[in-house]
């Protein structure tokens, strides 16, 4: 076992070194990356700099992969990147603290895109349009919602390099089990496979929800098989809500649409399926959901795309080769089915407005997110960047890591990607939603009462921040394609 592990590790290392080692060649083939390299070298020369250190406030998920790219950038340009890894829950407060302190301690911020509206309005982010005009980044092949997330209030503030749009994964071995298929069809009259709608998913979850000790389709379940899994814990539930709501959360004047039949139905659907999830799901985050899925105790999971990679790559996984990636099921929004894959998290790179070297910081970001280097990042064995642009599909490294089947599903899913709320006060709006969804799931309130309270809470936040400003940026975002839907 240890021998096999050593062999696997060695292969992974060789693959990683191979990917990194081929860097300069690939960079030259990619004009976007090459412009960034040339720009950084010219900047160093123009300013008579021999050694420069840039500090990166890094999402700690990337502590084992980002250093490889930092080392490569140093080799290419002489610019050293010092990363300061921090948990993603703590990064927004550090960024906002910097907006008050104005120290320039960090040159680059790495966080969810949703920090950007507050940070940009606070003046702590450097607008990148001037540099973008000069160095010409390439956003081809990136779905609208992801492109739009790089802008706020008409200016570019960030680059994205991650497709964290939620998707559904089923147990392929169960879906392909002839006895299970026949029994499901007999019970529901439907063909078993990726569910078309959220209601279909719940129907499958109900059907496959199995108690410990039961024997079904010739299999005796020593442990229970849960019909579904999804994020339902504090600060995470709201990230799944747009998939159930299927539309814009506000009208053109920022009046919430939550307290409508569409909103109430979404709250009910999100809460209803919890009965087929593990009992403790409201206390679970990624550290619990991923291993539980890997343990084979669930039929389906709605999650970040990386769960598919986890299921295949984790040595202890019992679902390896037995996962069926599905495009997000549709919800019935106002009478017609629509698919909305919420961009539940994401990875953005922003430049501190108080950095001593904002241009140099920009150049690194352009290089890292360029088509060729971005592909290598997504293919990195220890990275958490997920595929999101069409160029990812033809990349051998990415296909090797994620599988062709998964890539096709996730890139199709990317077309339905909708952002969460991309305006100032994002975390407050979403926390209000989160709290009331939890109350409904716990039976402390009804969906109707929750919808009313959420509406009041959202209106209070809008008034507190300033309705005129919120309406303006909300309309801009909708027009830019942040949410797929239009007014």
């Amino acid at each position: 076992m240890a021998h096999a592990f050593r062999n696997t590790s060695a292969l992974a290392l060789i693959a990683a070194l191979g990917i990194i080692g081929s860097a300069p060649v690939l960079a030259q083939e990619d004009p976007v990356a090459q412009r960034a390299i040339d720009g950084a070298r010219a900047y160093m020369k123009k300013n008579n700099l021999e050694e420069v250190k840039l500090d990166v406030l890094l999402n700690s998920l990337y502590r084992n992969s980002f250093p490889d790219f930092a080392a490569e950038w140093k080799e290419l340009t002489g610019v050293e990147l010092v990363s300061e890894p921090l948990g993603y829950t703590d990064i927004p407060s550090k960024v906002m603290g910097e907006s008050v302190a104005k120290t320039g301690a960090f040159d680059i911020f790495n966080d969810f895109p949703y920090t950007q509206p507050d940070a940009a309005s606070a003046g702590v982010l450097k607008p990148l349009d001037e540099y973008a005009a000069k160095y010409k980044p390439d956003f081809s092949g990136i779905p609208d919602a992801f492109v739009a997330q790089q802008y706020y209030n008409g200016k570019q503030y960030s680059f994205v390099l991650d497709g964290d749009h939620i998707m559904l994964v089923l147990r392929k071995d169960i879906v392909e089990n002839p006895a299970a298929r026949a029994e499901f069809q007999a019970a529901t009259g439907k063909e078993l496979g990726c569910p078309a709608t959220m209601a279909d998913w719940e129907e499958q979850a109900k059907f496959f929800h199995t108690k410990a000790g039961e024997t079904r389709w010739g299999i005796t379940f020593e442990q229970p098989l849960y019909g579904a899994m999804g994020y339902r814990s504090v600060n995470f539930t709201h990230r799944h809500f747009p998939a159930y709501f299927g539309g814009l959360l506000f009208d053109a004047d920022m009046n919430p649409k939550i307290n409508t039949p569409q909103g109430i139905a979404a709250i009910k659907a999100l809460s209803s399926i919890v009965q087929y999830m593990p009992e403790d799901i409201q206390g679970w985050g990624t550290p619990q959901i991923y291993p539980f899925w890997g343990s084979g105790q669930a039929y389906s999971v709605m999650s970040f795309p990386s769960i598919f990679g986890f299921g295949n790559a984790n040595p202890d996984s019992k679902v390896k080769g037995n996962q069926l990636p599905c495009v997000i099921p549709a919800t019935n929004a106002g009478g017609e089915p629509v698919r909305r894959a919420a961009e539940a998290a994401g990875t953005s790179y922003m430049v501190n407005a108080y950095s001593d070297h904002p241009e140099l910081s920009y150049l690194f970001i352009q290089w890292l997110t360029s088509p060729s280097v971005g592909n290598r990042a997504i293919a990195h064995p220890k990275g958490f960047w997920d595929p999101f642009r069409t160029q990812n599909l033809g990349d051998a490294g990415i296909e090797n890591k994620f599988s062709r089947e998964f890539l096709e599903a996730t890139l199709e899913n990317a077309e339905f990607t909708t952002s969460l709320l991309y305006i100032e006060g994002h975390y407050e709006y979403m926390k209000i939603l989160d709290n009331h969804l939890a109350d409904v799931m716990n039976g402390n309130t009804t969906a109707e009462e929750a919808a009313e309270d959420i509406e009041d809470g959202w209106n209070d936040v809008t008034e507190d921040i300033g309705r005129d400003n919120q309406v303006r940026v909300w309309r801009q975002g909708v027009e830019a394609g942040l949410y797929v839907d239009k007014f």
């Binding site: 927004p92 407060s93 906002m96 907006s99 008050v100 509206p117 507050d118 940070a119 309005s121 606070a122 003046g123 814990s233 504090v234 600060n235 593990p278 009992e279 403790d280 799901i281 409201q282 206390g283 679970w284 619990q288 100032e424 006060g425 975390y427 407050e428 926390k431 989160d434 709290n435 009331h436 939890a438 109350d439 799931m441 716990n442 402390n444 507190d464 921040i465």
Partner: protein
Amino acid sequence: MTDATLNGTGGPARQGPRMRLRAWLGQERVFRWIPFVLVEGVFLLVIIIPFLLTIYISFLRWRANRPFEQAYLSGFRNYEQVLTNEGFWLSLGRTFYFAGAAVTFELIVGFLLAMAVHRVVRGRRIYITLFLIPMMLVPVVAGYNFSMIYLDSGPLNQLLSPITTALGFDPRIRWLSDPTAAQLAIIFADIWQWTSLTFLIFLSGFSALPPQLINAARIMGANRRQIFFWVELPLLKPAIVIAIVIRSMEALKMFDPIVMLTFGGPGTSTQTIAHYLWEQVWMFNKFSFGAAASVLVLIMFSVLIFTGIWLLIRQSDQVENQQLNTGSDR
């Protein structure tokens, strides 16, 4: 080396600035002020100035998602918003519930443990060390351990399963995701970690009991129960008040177990006032609202804590007077 030290005599006119400063500081009328100025300077820097700034910010209209330069005075608007905010009162109420329940148990268990250990002759040091271990653990480590213990398939539920099954309950209690169970889980984690402190305080109280009074009571025919209730317990009152004041002060600021175990959830069912303030300021960027809420919480807690301290002083005075009276009677 300065000119003054080189010629060995140099009068004030020929001394360097460093020597002149040294001579000035060495003067009696200056020297005695140095400790005061240093202490007060630090106090001013780390307490008074931030406190005044907090009060100032509490009167501003300012979210950190706008530059500070755009902040403006808004009178008591933030205070009004805090006082009419349901979340503020609910988290405050929850804080008192958690603190009240946790401190009560910590006092009872800590007192009983201290009483037992005080009477133990053999292995006393081992017991003391064992009972103090929880307090020495870093709260984050304790929180992480409890997050594992509280898993629905974790050791606590396995331990309880014979009882819960016999009583007809679901043996997989959702310690961290059921609103009521999560509250109990937080309280229990606090009790586990901080009973050590009340134990320590009570043990020192027991150790300081004057043996002559207890011997005198025994000679006068008092039994163990009478000695405990009429001699020991009154003398332990200062220790009890100290334990109540110190633990209440800490428990009212409960934050670590919340972040480590539930992050205030599910919903807001385990959100304490400390977590609420953190969220308002650092997650929602409502700096001026948070400042106003902090000032109000400070006022409320100060009233409680100063009442506790006043009780403590009164108890100490009473005990001192009793001892003086006992001494003069002799």
